[in-house]
């Protein structure tokens, strides 16, 4: 925190206020775990603050780093220790059902779908977050979208 100027803190806080919720939702959709999402979002923003003015595009950087942190945590947990949210309302019920469907997608397809189709991040950023080429990211999007639509159709009868 010592390296961050007041203007940097204000800029990062502004990004957090505008994008933090959507980033958190996106990572919950990807990771299926609210704790993982909270840790990844907090860490990514803290890292951005620590880097001060060095980030050319803090928003894109935060999205990418948050997803990488979440992916690393899922890998550390062995992909099996998902913690299903406790359902307390109809809205949470729908969110929980969506998480359950998204878990049926391979990780990279799921991340690509969430980043591009939900969060509107461009394909180039999706590719950077996944560590793949833009062409591969497009294929993951194409496959993920078709698979998810099929799952949604099956669920809805």
């Amino acid at each position: 925190m010592d390296t961050a100027s007041t203007s940097t803190v204000n800029a990062i806080e502004s990004i957090y206020r505008e994008e933090g919720r959507r980033l958190w939702w996106a990572i919950v959709a990807y990771a299926g775990d609210r704790e993982v999402a909270s840790d990844a979002v907090a860490e990514a923003f803290a890292q951005a603050l620590a880097r001060g003015d060095a980030l050319v595009d803090p928003l894109a950087w935060i999205w990418r780093v948050a997803f990488r942190l979440a992916a690393g945590e899922l890998k550390r947990r062995g992909q099996t220790d998902h913690r299903l949210p406790e359902v307390a309302s109809p809205d949470e019920q729908r969110a929980t059902e969506l998480v359950a469907l998204l878990r049926l997608l391979p990780g990279k397809q799921r991340a690509a779908i969430v980043l591009h189709c939900y969060a509107d991040r461009p394909v180039r950023e999706v590719a950077l977050a996944l560590g793949v080429s833009p062409a591969t990211a497009r294929v993951q999007l194409h496959r993920g979208r078709r698979r998810l639509m099929r799952l949604l159709e099956d669920r809805d009868g």
Partner: protein, 266 residues
């Protein structure tokens, strides 16, 4: 808002916490491994030096050591081939990327590929300007390295490759195409990428690198690999949301480069 996006917004049924206090009090761990902005100029400089050395070596390997590459400004400009998304998003059925070409001044934009089931990307001009190699990826069309005539006719598969190949580049004599691929992944289990060459006449495939590191962006001594014309793709496309990515100029110091292709006819 389309149906998939609307459905994905169900995730907003969870109430997000306010993390700002935690963020400002967090003692950060080391940043995730990736080149930081302060180190990027050095990384880019090293990559450029390695790339330049590779270009020189390959030119010599192809017997072009006596040819002095012409500065771009002294070579008559030919058409620019590029890929573009033909829809604003990928969750609309039929959305895909296609290959386009245009004159150097941006006029006469012509669509060269029309495959609704695939993503056509990474165009690369042949040295004589009569052919364009490109990558085709997707689920319903055989993926791989393809080539077509400069007007988009005669599209044909040169080699099948389901691993998401990229960066095709022609040899100066136009007889083979080098490209990056994960074809060796199944053999080694390493998951890395290597450089391959395919003989256009026979389809014979040769693996040129086998090291466990990722080998990418081959340059054939002609097209200068990723040239200065390659712009960073942005989201700020024109009104039709067609993004221009990875343009390939065929006329940047090409030894030997027989001459410019004829102007495009829309």
């Amino acid at each position: 808002m389309n149906d998939l996006k609307r459905r994905l917004r169900d995730i907003e049924g969870f109430a997000p916490p306010d993390l700002w206090e935690e963020i400002t009090s967090t003692r950060t761990r080391p940043a995730p491994a990736e080149p930081g902005p302060a180190r990027k100029p050095l990384v880019v400089a090293i990559a450029l030096l390695i790339g330049l050395a590779g270009v020189v070596l390959v030119v010599r390997a192809f017997g072009g050591a006596d040819e002095t590459p012409q500065p771009a400004a002294t070579v008559e400009n030919g058409p620019i081939a590029f890929m573009s998304e033909v829809s604003s998003d990928l969750y609309v059925e039929g959305a895909q990327t296609e290959i386009f070409a245009m004159n150097p001044d941006g006029t006469e934009r012509v669509r060269l590929t029309h495959d609704p089931e695939a993503f056509d990307e990474d165009p690369a001009w042949s040295p004589d300007g009569t052919q364009i190699a490109f990558v085709k990826v997707g689920d319903l069309t055989a993926p791989g390295i393809y080539a077509m005539n400069a007007d988009g006719s005669g599209s044909r598969q040169i080699v099948e490759d389901p691993t998401g190949p990229r960066s095709p580049s022609w040899s100066p004599d136009g007889t083979r195409i080098v490209f990056e691929s994960g074809l060796g992944e199944e053999e080694t289990g390493s998951g890395d990428r290597d450089i391959y060459a395919v003989e256009i006449a026979t389809g014979e495939l040769t693996r040129l690198t086998t090291d466990p590191a990722r080998d990418e962006y081959p340059a054939d001594g002609c097209s200068q690999g990723r040239s200065a014309n390659q712009q960073e793709p942005t989201d700020d496309g024109p009104a039709d949301r067609q993004h221009q990515e990875y343009p390939e100029r065929r006329d940047l110091g090409c030894p030997p480069c027989p001459g410019p292709a004829p102007p495009l006819r829309p």
